[in-house]
Symmetry: D2
Subunit: 436 residues, 4 copies
Amino acid sequence: METSFNIPNLGKPEIKSPLNLSTVKGDKIFNFVEDEESLVYDLSLKEYERCLNTGSDPLCLEVAGPRESIFFNPEETSAAIVTCGGLCPGINNVIRGTVMALYYFYKVRKIYGIPFGFEGLNPEKGHEFRVLNPDEVKEIHQFGGTVLGSSRGAQSVEVMVDTLVEKKIDILFAIGGDGTLKGANAIATEINKRGLKIAVVGIPKTIDNDIDLIDKSFGFETAFDIASPILRDAHNEATGANKGVAIVKLMGRDSGFIAASAALAMPVVNFVLVPEMNFELYGEGGFLEVLDQRLKNKGHAVIVVAEGAGQHLFEQKEKVKDASGNIQHQDIGILLKDVINKEFKGELGGVKYIDPSYIIRSAPANSSDSIYCSRLAYHAVHGAMAGKTMFVAGERNGRFVYLPIDAVTQKRKKINLEGEFWFSVLQSTGQPFQMP
Amino acid sequence: METSFNIPNLGKPEIKSPLNLSTVKGDKIFNFVEDEESLVYDLSLKEYERCLNTGSDPLCLEVAGPRESIFFNPEETSAAIVTCGGLCPGINNVIRGTVMALYYFYKVRKIYGIPFGFEGLNPEKGHEFRVLNPDEVKEIHQFGGTVLGSSRGAQSVEVMVDTLVEKKIDILFAIGGDGTLKGANAIATEINKRGLKIAVVGIPKTIDNDIDLIDKSFGFETAFDIASPILRDAHNEATGANKGVAIVKLMGRDSGFIAASAALAMPVVNFVLVPEMNFELYGEGGFLEVLDQRLKNKGHAVIVVAEGAGQHLFEQKEKVKDASGNIQHQDIGILLKDVINKEFKGELGGVKYIDPSYIIRSAPANSSDSIYCSRLAYHAVHGAMAGKTMFVAGERNGRFVYLPIDAVTQKRKKINLEGEFWFSVLQSTGQPFQMP
Amino acid sequence: METSFNIPNLGKPEIKSPLNLSTVKGDKIFNFVEDEESLVYDLSLKEYERCLNTGSDPLCLEVAGPRESIFFNPEETSAAIVTCGGLCPGINNVIRGTVMALYYFYKVRKIYGIPFGFEGLNPEKGHEFRVLNPDEVKEIHQFGGTVLGSSRGAQSVEVMVDTLVEKKIDILFAIGGDGTLKGANAIATEINKRGLKIAVVGIPKTIDNDIDLIDKSFGFETAFDIASPILRDAHNEATGANKGVAIVKLMGRDSGFIAASAALAMPVVNFVLVPEMNFELYGEGGFLEVLDQRLKNKGHAVIVVAEGAGQHLFEQKEKVKDASGNIQHQDIGILLKDVINKEFKGELGGVKYIDPSYIIRSAPANSSDSIYCSRLAYHAVHGAMAGKTMFVAGERNGRFVYLPIDAVTQKRKKINLEGEFWFSVLQSTGQPFQMP
Amino acid sequence: METSFNIPNLGKPEIKSPLNLSTVKGDKIFNFVEDEESLVYDLSLKEYERCLNTGSDPLCLEVAGPRESIFFNPEETSAAIVTCGGLCPGINNVIRGTVMALYYFYKVRKIYGIPFGFEGLNPEKGHEFRVLNPDEVKEIHQFGGTVLGSSRGAQSVEVMVDTLVEKKIDILFAIGGDGTLKGANAIATEINKRGLKIAVVGIPKTIDNDIDLIDKSFGFETAFDIASPILRDAHNEATGANKGVAIVKLMGRDSGFIAASAALAMPVVNFVLVPEMNFELYGEGGFLEVLDQRLKNKGHAVIVVAEGAGQHLFEQKEKVKDASGNIQHQDIGILLKDVINKEFKGELGGVKYIDPSYIIRSAPANSSDSIYCSRLAYHAVHGAMAGKTMFVAGERNGRFVYLPIDAVTQKRKKINLEGEFWFSVLQSTGQPFQMP
């Protein structure tokens, strides 16, 4: 039976792994993972019955972990790590884990950090590769940011592959979001075209938690953990005034996981607005009406809005102009602040607007993320040493698996408005299940 | 097709739920959960194929959530909450969530807090039930401990059921560990024997995370989150002296999840000792030998030990007496401190022993646990209102499910020494895979 | 010898204090404070010599604390607390301390909270006084904000005094900043004019720490304590990009104490810009030139700017328009961001702008402030019960003293650019001692 | 006029300071400090008048800060830093500040770290000096502990001076407590005896805050800041049980500043026991009686005890044996726990004993301490470069001053039981002013 989320391999792994693991169950020592140890993707009994009735194979996921035979000879292997895009808690933890796993588990001694994202693979930019080893990285998990530096935007795929070849890199670990993963895939495709044996591994990084098929991305738990006391204090701002309103804008360009989770974690929030939902400001059942009701009943309101929410409000230029008189705004937080200030003119004790985005994304990883980052990094290294390529490591249904990069970049993960998670958010805030 | 983890029901739910949910997919409103929406318990392809091949039904789990028809008429329903056993972060969050769900979702108006655990159900103890409502509980999620008070130990089951009857309680929510859940089951059995219609719901509370079948218990993430900076600083104690050793004892009577997770979260730990593993102090490959090696190579060591680890060392009384000269010790942390002090007499820069247990268990829940507690409480309420009894709410494979109390109290969950989690701990600490 | 900072008194205190204190030194029990226990205001030897040579009396401060004879009969006394202006960490601690001191030390039983600032003294606003007692306030020290609510702006002094009279208030505690203290003085003046015996006590509240003559105001230590990790993470933003710049705007309308203290507490800051200093953006030695130098040498820069800094840059409208093309900006943080973006166009890895003001001011008090708030409140109560009026309690040269309200509202405290504190900031940042 | 706390000098400072400071008031640039800028030591009007009346000179303190003429030629100067005794938050901050000040202000290039305390000055121990520079220390302020390592106990003064001579050290910065400062003075005395020109500077380090004459020592504010939430949670332990008692032992061998401050910062504490006070356990008005009263009235109690409190109870061996049956105990926390358990046998919901000492002392400095450490270090360097020796830098009456080492080591600072600070603690806890 073949797995459905197939991971490409650079070739047959024929080198004995230097890891001193077991192949026997019951000896209390971890066993090498076999490629056949798949997990079903869909847990519903309905899907099982479909398979049973139709005789079809269930969609399966490849279990992550160390393989008994590996592709790369550790002594000769050279690995490089690149971090791209915006900051996210945990990047340094992933760098640290990757270096530690390469160095201590597989005895790889040539490990490099590529400075400032994909820019660092473009010789024109003049950045030097940085030598990495345990001494260099042993304390970086305590710091936010990325010790390698980052950058946004694309570089020529050919130029980047040229650099990898020139630097004799065998494995490229690319830590980044959707764009970075697509870039990594393009690099791997070019590598493949040239018939090279360079593994390209993606480690999905998105503070928004919107990488598809994966339970959570690293940094996400830290994000709502840091947002949580900010909401607690926003509540102080709202209640500290007569008819006070506090608006907190949180990250979430296409999906509202941070906003929703933070609101659930700190249950003083009265409204969560996310990109997945429709809502109108005006009219019957519109946001302003329910807010008015809330202020009349309770005397204050705390609103959490994801940065990508309500973008349709900016397209209706006439309306928005009416409301805020300021059509150039593309910031939903500021739009809300302006609209509320205008609509409730003189009635409110103030509208406090808080945008903590940079504070959140540059913070060090919390404990959960720290654990997740180490394990992600270890699994990425195990997969890479086995010669797997064009894959990401991630958690699905609570287990670490490998997934093809192109499987997770097809579309972004979104909150299921009919799912249990969003329902728990609605239960917590008490906001209407739907606004028109 | 019947689920295998069957939840008993007090009777047919025939009352229309007051929740304004949908029964139509695609309208972006949460749908009532149907009892048939089961999930397979075992994700491995191997098990799936076994079922497909043999035509046997896979073991399934009942999905948690609100049912369209409920058993209890909210207007007449009376619910009580009891918290038992030691403190654990998140108890107040669960109390709050339960009260909020009863009050706002189902409009239940008679909600009571039972003071000081099962003692509060024994009239001889003289504790009065406490009236609970949203105003009483709205801010308690910010505090550790339990606002209801707790106690340990058993009370007469008959007396407790008498009290429930006298107080006209329809639903009992029991928040507690293994013993409490068994007690709750005994209460439910007595209720059943008397032919009463009182639902008994367990909400598993164990900071050790050792309730079987459940991904995690509430408070556990907070536990290692709080332990994490303590380990960071224990490292300062170890490195602040020439050949310094720091020992941190963490909770974990039968399983070492907190010790292992904290060590993974703060990767400055060199040895984790858990109840699941065997290890000897003396002899070749024994702990003292590997510690000696570590001190010679690196000049310091940080040891994390779960309270239940190494209990076999106390049975070998002769040996222990030799080692520590203090046979009455049953505390593995103090034993280790004494043995190390004795064995390395004069060579060490000090052995610092840290026992932060009370500091950890009395802290407020962190964000992850806060979310988990709210959702757990909501699901417990939904199940109870539907007339389910003798069940717990919990997360399994990342989904909220209901499980029979007696299924989760058969045995305690332990770290799988051959599993990926323990392997990642070993990778992080660098300690030997096995000690003799 | 008479004190120079005289505190008015409502009349001769003739009632024996209910406090069970001592009047004997050496019995290890606190002694009542005598009005004569003054402290010299100026510690310099130079001032001593001036007094010696000229025979003049040194300027003195009245020591705060309980008096043996008090003015108000506790049994009949009624006290009210009002909180005005913006939030500041510690307000609830001061409310709590005041209630506790009135209730437990003096057995005052009529204690009221005035809702929403001076608005609450205007019957037209329709706010009801709130009854305060230990049960109501015992846990509020753990929360930011003000449980009484606040408001800005003036109310009619006559109306407010009418309300105090109607509500039979004997002591008014006004927690607020410069404007509030002036308002309190106006109320006291009107009270005096009417020949009433109502004590008016100010408790200076300014997160900016700019109340004159007082070592520090409550909330200030919390402010830079919370700002400190934000600066740490801003540093991650700056170093996470090639030639990255992070700008953090901190509170400080007229004085830069928070910005300077936070920069000193988290020594990753390269430039601190405060209202007290002059600086130009352009030209030789101007800020942009030194920033350019820094970026060339070090590759990144962290800038902390107090909100009131550089306001002269807005008056030179032509210049500013040239620079940012956006003359309506009055926000120095945004001005800096725009100017830097424009001047270094394309050369920078990004300019990250962070404004955490609401996050800081709405937070709970840290430990130092918590201690300070309790002691402040106790002293305010002791002074009020003794019949003192038109005074504030505060710390000066490390001792708690009473000062006349009009002495501390003459002008705002500012950073002494020739003083040791500012010098230590310059030493820490390495920025030029002066910019043109 | 001569200062009374005279600081010895190695010789006339004749080298022009490289600091680009001003000597003109009013130019908004910090001025060099002149040795004559003294401050009176005693602020009381009484003392001031005594001096004025008798014409005697007031006792004065030398103002800390950079001098226009310095003694050491920076280019040739070599400085070494040693850290001794137990950990304390802020040691790394002081190391960092010292290195930064030497390197950047004075351009001293030969800076060494002495490993493992005074041991590092004993060649027999085999520790190598460590080269320090800004790159080595720039991030250490974020970590607790000491990057140099520490040790306890004395080394031969002659040997240590031999090492300083051999290593050509010109300035020794000794960061440590009472014993270390006395050791530093002994080293300086030996240096003087040999006619050497080596400056010895003490930076007082005592988490107990018991260095005489100095407002506070670094690490102390962090200590009660970290203790504060531990007390909050101890309160949860006490209230989480029926008649629950929580005992927290905090540092304070000879003085109770940490215990008292933490209790004041987190006002949930009912009893503070410090070394300065007398109290008996038994008999009328004894601690057990007042505790019993408290438990009857309120149902729980939180006790904070300084480690040095109640030591007299151990001398009365008979009595203690009666009480606890365990005379070998010298730990007041455990004594209290045992006595309370015995006296209230069966009546209590548990006595929880918490000893967080290592957790507190190994933590990183909080913001206030971070500021204090930098300024202390800067002042130590300024004094040393000016050729001052046998002095400490510290804050007194809110100003940084230099004091002779032997002035601050005469006796330990203690809480004044008749002073305002202790009175505020008593007011906060509500405990009796005196126990027999």
